[in-house]
Amino acid sequence: MIELSELTKRYGGKTAVEGLTFAVRPGVVTGFLGPNGAGKSTTMRMILGLDRPTSGDVRIDGKRYDQLPEPLTYIGALLEARSVHPGRTAYHHLLCLAQSNGVPERRIGEVLDLVGLSGVARKRPKGFSLGMGQRLGIASALLGDPRILMFDEPVNGLDPEGIHWIRNLMKQLASDGRTVFVSSHLMSEMALTADHLVVIGQGRLLADTSMARFIEENSRPYVQVRSSDPERLRVSLADAGLRPVPQPDGGFEVEGVPAARVGEIAAANGLVLHELSRRQASLEEAFMRLTHGSVEYQAREG
């Protein structure tokens, strides 16, 4: 279990993370979601004791990171980008990590096998593709067979097969009873893997909820309807007690009603419909709505 309480990090006058309080529980995959620059990596570095919080506290099973006697068997982390020396072979990279924590050397072969890098164990990572580098990072994280795993943007650079593999791996690790904490800026990716969701934007907590609840709250179905006479359609729908929301293309979105009922209202008023369809708001849209206004680097439209 990872517990954050009032975690805050400032760089000079700029606040990267502010007052984050949440817990990451064992047995499920917890997604850590936020736009670029929201403070996900900074938070993960603070969990690992790499960056010092300006205030607040992080505990791993009740201990500070530097109080863990054998950190790699406690928590394994895939850090952002590549955190390896490009001139040291995959085998020796894992060997120096294993030695630093007294992890038996046979684990090196096991994790290389698991991530599918056995064939390049004696090769230097400078020749690795992005995906291979990512797999080596995952091998380092799994080396100590830790009870907590933290992955920073693990699908970055992986091909579809690799993405599929890591999704299953994370679910598998969670079902072993481990704590799995994974960051991403892609809602669609999280929807497929995470059971629990923590969303941040500009360093602040925006949501801490189960995935099922998030989907239920944010993907309400609605009906999209368009007519040759939008004004009359609006009035007829409003008269029937519905609340049509006008769209830029002249159509309306109507929530909480079956499409058939909208069709019946239109027929009763003699309206010609150009479109009548059932729609569902995507989670991506829900995520964008949630984080809108807290996106640090926003592209200007037009």
Binding site: R52, P69, P71, R82, G87, Q99, N101, G144, R147
Partner: protein, 296 residues
């Protein structure tokens, strides 16, 4: 009568329990890890080979040149100085790279995640690098000194050389010899000097976290006093110039070979070696402070 309330079973240990035995880590683990790191990068091996070739090669060339010529009035082992002077550049560079390359590649984050005790990481790096640098330099300087002693040992001593103060102890029964003190200076002393410079580089690497910056700073520390002294002309600056040369780091190495550039002709170089050790320890303390107080 009711049965006594049963104690609730202890809650199951949260999460996953690994079959891997848990080991409490200590300095030994960090030392083993750093030893693997230093020997598994090609550049380390090549830098050491280059140091060896330069030190022994130039030493050999000097010995051959001196042997075919008339006696030039140097102590027996002094010619080894020039090879070491160049060979030390390799050790200085290696010392810096041991830590700065980890910052450059992002490896430092992995290292500190595996071993959150930053002081332990710095200590392990220092011990492993210093030992390796010292042993390798000791082999190179001993070999060079043996070459000099076997090639130059039988040279004739001209009468004027006998009176030179810095030849004290170098002449015995009209033959050129090296005392135990000379041997110590030209082997153990020179190796300590070069390895300490390397550790100074390591400390600078930790302070600056930038390879080129740290290497430039270290070379500047070694050479600047001499270069500055070159431009201090005139009587008014003579004292300053002499002191600058006398206490320059390079004069320490020269003195260990009994070729002091300035000051006491009989200087052994050991006090200057002590000064270098002091500077190195101070830099290491600074590196420790930076490492433990700032974000990785």
């Amino acid at each position: 009568m009711t049965a006594p309330a049963q104690m609730p079973p202890p809650p199951p240990a949260p999460g996953y329990a690994s079959p891997i035995p848990v080991v409490r880590t200590h300095l030994g683990h960090a030392l083993a890890s750093e030893w693997t790191k230093i020997k598994s990068v090609r550049s380390t091996v090549w830098t050491l080979v280059l140091m060896f070739v330069v030190t022994v090669g130039i030493g050999l060339l000097f010995a051959v040149a001196l042997a075919s010529d008339d006696y030039v009035g140097w102590p027996l082992l002094a010619g080894g100085f020039f090879g070491v002077m160049l060979g030390q550049l390799c050790i200085m560079t290696l010392g810096v790279l041991v830590i700065s390359s980890e910052y450059g590649t992002g490896m430092m984050r992995t290292t500190l995640t595996a071993c959150p005790h930053r002081g332990r990481v710095l200590l392990a790096k220092t011990v492993v690098f210093f030992s390796l640098a010292f042993v390798m330099t000791l082999v190179a300087t001993t070999l060079t000194s043996l070459i000099h002693s076997s090639l130059l040992g039988d040279q004739d001593i001209p009468h004027y050389a006998v009176q030179d103060p810095y030849m004290e102890g170098s002449i015995e029964n009209g033959e050129l010899v090296a005392t135990a003190g000379h041997w110590m200076g030209a082997t153990v002393g020179a190796s300590l000097y070069v390895s300490l410079l390397g550790v100074l580089g390591l400390a600078l690497g930790a302070l600056l976290r930038h390879s080129a910056g740290a290497i430039t700073t270290l070379i500047g520390l070694v050479l600047l006093p001499l270069i500055a002294a070159m431009f201090m002309v005139g009587d008014s600056m003579e004292t300053a110039r002499e002191k600058l040369i006398e206490y320059s780091l390079l004069n320490g190495l020269a003195s260990l070979y009994r070729l002091p550039m300035e000051g006491d002709d009989t200087a052994t170089g050991w006090p200057l070696l002590g000064m270098l050790a002091g500077i190195t320890v101070a830099a290491l303390i600074g590196a420790y402070a930076r490492l433990t107080s700032t974000d990785a």
